[in-house]
């Protein structure tokens, strides 16, 4: 099972299995998200009309913070058990590990989003005026943008002091175009306006940054 896809599948399944048994990441993400939503509710008490304007931003801020929680623990297990050293010594391609980790994070954050979205709909009395399937597309593209950069920066932050704070410090500025696109497209779809530009921007962003992260990950892994 030395083919790259084999390695990816094995690593991904291992991570999913471990997560399924302990449910560490998903529980902490879920609870954190909930807390963020509750704190937001202290500052905003919007009518249904107003909430359509601000919900896009609130939802993505909550998901962003939750994603950071997931991303921070991405490599923790590997670091504790010297897996990264073993991986570097092995002939396995670094990208397989990267894709497996990114897919794992993507699945965790998507599960979180699926669980939190009904809560948002209820708390803010949301109703999409535009095509709701586009919201799904935005969710997938946006989550991938956060997760691909986040997994990369998490690997970069492994040997820094204050590792946990380093990840958001690096991730947030670079993610700003994607965040703007996510928030604006969600708001546009909720209000029945066109979101095509933002979706195209997200697709371009995802393509460019996935490519660059794949190209540079081997360097980062070996630099570690």
């Amino acid at each position: 099972m030395t083919a790259p896809t084999g390695i990816t599948r094995v690593t991904l399944l291992k991570d999913l299995r471990l997560e399924w048994r302990s449910k560490d990441a998903i529980n902490s993400m879920l609870f954190f998200s909930l807390l963020v939503v509750v704190v937001f509710s202290f500052s905003f008490d919007p009518s249904a009309e107003e909430s359509r304007q601000i919900a896009g931003g609130l939802i993505w801020v909550a998901f962003l913070f939750a994603a950071v929680v997931a991303l921070n623990q991405t490599w923790a297990r590997e670091l504790r058990n010297q897996v990264l050293d073993a991986y570097r010594v092995s002939p396995a391609p670094a990208n397989s590990l990267f894709i497996a980790k990114t897919l794992g994070n993507f699945i965790f954050v998507t599960v979180l989003e699926a669980l939190m979205t009904p809560l948002f709909v209820v708390f803010y009395r949301l109703r999409a005026l535009g095509p709701a399937w586009q919201l799904l597309l935005v969710a997938v593209l946006g989550t991938w943008a956060l997760v691909v950069n986040g997994t990369f920066f998490a690997a970069m932050s492994l040997r820094t002091r204050s590792r946990e704070i380093m990840l958001p410090l690096l991730l947030f500025p670079i993610s700003i175009p994607a965040l703007l696109a996510m928030v604006q497209s969600t708001t546009a779809i909720l209000n029945g306006e066109g979101a095509r530009f933002w979706i195209v921007l997200l697709v371009t962003y995802d393509l460019v940054f996935t490519t660059v992260c794949l190209l540079l990950f081997e360097t980062v892994l070996n630099a570690e």
């Binding site: 950069n149 990369f152 920066f153 970069m156 040997r159 820094t160 002091r161 204050s162 380093m166 410090l169 690096l170 947030f172 500025p173 670079i174 700003i176 175009p177 994607a178 703007l180 696109a181 604006q184 530009f197 933002w198 921007l201 371009t204 962003y205 460019v208 940054f209 660059v212 992260c213 540079l216 360097t219 980062v220 630099a223 570690e224």
Partner: protein, 230 residues
Amino acid sequence: MRKAFPILGVLTAILLSYALYMALVGAPTERTMGDVQRIFYYHVPSAWTAFILFFINFGASVLYLIKRNPAADIVALVSAEVGVVFCTVVLVTGPIWARPVWGIWWTWDMRLTSTLVLWLIYVSYLFLRRFSSSGQTPLLAAALAVLGALCVPFVYFSIWFFRTQHPQPVMGGGGSIDPRMLHVLLINWLAFSCFAFLVCWSRYRLEKLQRDVDHAHALESLLAPRGSVR
């Protein structure tokens, strides 16, 4: 090369003084804004210098990724540091200019927002440099610089569209410029570029010395007979 530095320093000082005089006294007073407009001669050249320095950072980072040349790494570090300083000048002089002219310190218009995001990206680069404790910091920083530089077109494009959808008055917008003002602007830009070059050069030498000292210390610890290392 050593002799060139003080000569260049004196020349730059003369140039900066001349540029300052031209900006504050020599340039014609602007019709609507009056003398407050003169901050323009610091705001715009700082922005251009910062952009050039960030571009140099990108080039040096790519060179480091390809060739692992330590000099390229120092150039990347130096250009990022000095670039952030000039970008800070832009972000501070902007509001100072905006307040008397438009009555507000800040607005989330296209140009201001993009400059702020650019600043954030390069400050995060400097954070990585500061906090990374591995010997491979240059490689990690170079990777981050490449990602950051690639992000810049996305930043401009997305904020441009955002502000096209939700228009706000453009601050310090285009329009033609009086040739005498353009002349003063270019003189100031030349003076700032020379100054930036001097600071970068000085910082480069400082960083190179620091690394040589660290290297010598490390070598000494490695080669010293056992028991005599403090």
